[in-house]
């Protein structure tokens, strides 16, 4: 599989075309925006946290296939996880996409591995991590 085939796998293209949880969350929620001024990608991440556990996650915004698919996969992956676990996933996701040697991926659902191909495209790593940074911000900002 070429680097390009690995980057644009069918799972990514599917989540780009049919993003999951591409909606708003009403009521009691935390939210934060991610914006990449270099490329103009913009994502708003919303989460519902009850008793320290993420019970709903959604996003809205516009961006490339990588940023959209990453946000979509992320919202699926974090629901049902305690906040502390989500923070660990955030760290491991950044290590995986940044291509860090020996980085742990133990907390990441295997589905997220489809985004590991982005490590061969340093200019695109920020697309994949944009939604995760927004989620991290949402979880850590005082509400």
């Amino acid at each position: 599989m070429s680097d390009l085939d690995e980057l644009y796998q069918s799972v990514i293209l599917d989540h780009d075309r049919n993003p999951r949880n591409f909606r708003a969350i009403e009521g009691d929620r935390r939210e934060a925006e991610g914006y990449n001024p270099l490329c103009g990608d913009r994502v708003k991440v919303m989460v519902k946290v009850e008793d320290g556990v993420v019970t709903d996650a959604a996003f809205q915004g516009s961006g490339c296939a990588i940023s959209k698919a990453s946000a979509s996969l992320m919202t699926e992956a974090v629901v049902g996880k305690p906040v502390s676990e989500v923070e660990k996933m955030f760290t491991e996701f950044r290590e995986m996409t940044g291509g860090r040697e020996g980085g742990k991926t133990g907390s990441l659902p295997s589905k997220l591995a489809v985004l590991s191909g982005v490590k061969r495209f340093p200019m695109r790593v920020k697309c994949a991590t944009l939604a995760w940074h927004a989620l991290h911000k949402a979880l850590n900002e005082d509400t």
């Binding site: 070429s2 680097d3 390009l4 980057l7 644009y8 293209l13 270099l38 490329c39 103009g40 990608d41 516009s62 961006g63 490339c64 296939a65 990588i66 495209f121 200019m123 695109r124 697309c127």
Partner: protein, 427 residues
């Protein structure tokens, strides 16, 4: 310094005896060593000259020769190297003067680029002329570098920015321009050529209308000087700025042209060595232009190499470069437009050699990555022109931009790669 090649040639194509068979086609690619390299195992199709142009060997040789043989600071030491460096620097200034047909070399200021030149003007002119309630007139097709400095200056004094729109094709709205001009207009700041649309602004007409209301005209020529003959006296602009690196010269050097009478009135931007007449701790008197605006050590080697770049281009002829690029743009436009799902952004008559477009709803960044895998280097994004993107209601475009070395093979490689991208995304 001529920066000639070891074999004694100048690197200029069509030297004596070489017949010019097809006036619209240049064969200068051998002068650009970088075009020989491969990227990701593919032939490089460099279609990003509007971001920065590749350098002919003569430019790199001139830089090397300066640093290896003549390196010294200018206008300071009395030693021989200082003399050689100063002479080369002054020659470069004269080369630029002739290139844009300025009346005097004193009207040519070396800056660090277009952005530096606009900031110099925005701050300097604002300090002496901009009052609360005054207006600075821009166009919607400006690059951020011709928006933000004016915004900073205007906000500081309580002046306002006004914006001339463009038509769906990308033509500047001449009626709206006339309507927006008023006695409150102090400055008109306009791109000669849009970096996204390729639209050429009718500068001489705009300048004469601006002068009628007493405004000065600042032209951002970053995207025009590499592609066409530019004559500041014919355009009758008051100031003009451009970058060296888009003009096949080195990064880090740029040019500010100003009419002498106006430069004389302009206060210094940065203080430092080289821009003074007399300094005491109480007061300093300024040197005359251009030195007044060249505080500190200027980019000497880069200016000298920019002179070599200009000589190289004039060896080919700016009019021949224009016709070569126009012919290629026509081919590229036809072939890209024929791809299903393509929407061209910017189709003004007489536009220069940039082709901006979107393809179905494939995001330009994904396209950029896919094209890169085929060796095609394009720009994908908002091109530092977010207001223009909003005007066209798109987040970004892909932009293929041509240069003197571009050829049909580059275009074919682009078109094939776009077809592949479509297949990948749309099945």
């Amino acid at each position: 310094m001529t920066g000639g090649r070891e074999d004694g040639t100048t690197g200029v194509p069509f030297a004596a005896g070489r017949p010019d068979l097809l006036p619209s086609r240049l064969s200068v690619r051998d002068d650009f060593p970088i075009l020989q390299r491969t990227v990701r195992g593919k032939r490089l199709a460099y279609l990003d000259s509007a971001a920065t142009a590749q350098k002919p060997r003569v430019v790199v040789d001139t830089l090397t020769e300066f640093y290896l043989q003549h390196n010294a600071n200018v206008h300071r030491g009395v030693h021989l190297l200082g003399e050689e460096a100063t002479i080369a620097f002054d020659e470069a200034r004269e080369t630029i003067r002739k290139f844009i047909n300025a009346a005097s070399a004193d009207e040519i200021v070396f800056t660090h680029g277009t952005t530096a030149g606009i900031n110099l003007l925005a701050q300097g002119w604002a300090a002496i002329r901009l009052q609360p309630g005054d207006e600075v007139l821009l166009t919607v097709m400006e690059h951020h570098s011709n928006i933000v400095p004016w915004q900073l200056a205007a906000h500081r004094v309580g002046a306002q920015l006004k914006v001339v729109p463009v038509s769906p094709e990308g033509v500047l709205d001449a009626d709206e321009y006339k309507r927006l001009l008023s006695p409150r207009t102090r400055i008109v700041a306009v791109s000669h050529v849009s970096n996204v649309l390729g639209t050429v602004a009718p500068i001489s007409r705009m300048a004469s209308q601006a002068h009628e209301v007493g405004a000065i005209v600042v032209v951002d020529a970053a995207q025009s000087v590499p592609h066409m003959t530019v004559d500041v006296r014919e355009l009758d602009c008051d100031f003009m700025v451009f970058s060296g690196h888009k003009l096949y010269g080195p990064m880090g050097v740029g040019v500010l042209y100003g009419k002498k009478a106006l430069l004389d009135r302009l206060p210094p931007w940065q203080g430092g060595g080289g821009m003074i007449e007399k300094v005491t701790f109480d007061a300093t008197t300024w040197a005359a232009p251009p030195s007044r605006f060249e505080a500190g050590t200027p980019p000497v080697a880069e200016a000298v190499a920019l002179g070599a770049a200009v000589n190289y281009l004039q060896g080919i002829g700016m009019d021949r470069i224009r016709s070569h690029e126009d012919a290629l743009l026509e081919v590229a436009t036809e072939k890209v437009r024929a791809i299903p799902g393509v929407r061209l952004i910017g189709t003004a008559p007489g536009k220069t050699a940039v082709l901006s477009f979107v393809l179905d709803d494939i995001h330009p960044h994904d396209l950029g990555t896919i094209l890169d895998a085929s060796g095609v280097a394009v720009r994908a994004g908002h091109h530092c022109a977010q207001p223009l993107m909003r005007h066209f209601r798109i987040p970004a475009t892909v932009r293929a931009s041509l240069g003197v070395y571009s050829n049909e093979e580059d275009i074919d490689q682009l078109v094939t790669a776009l077809g592949d991208a479509r297949k990948r995304f749309l099945g």
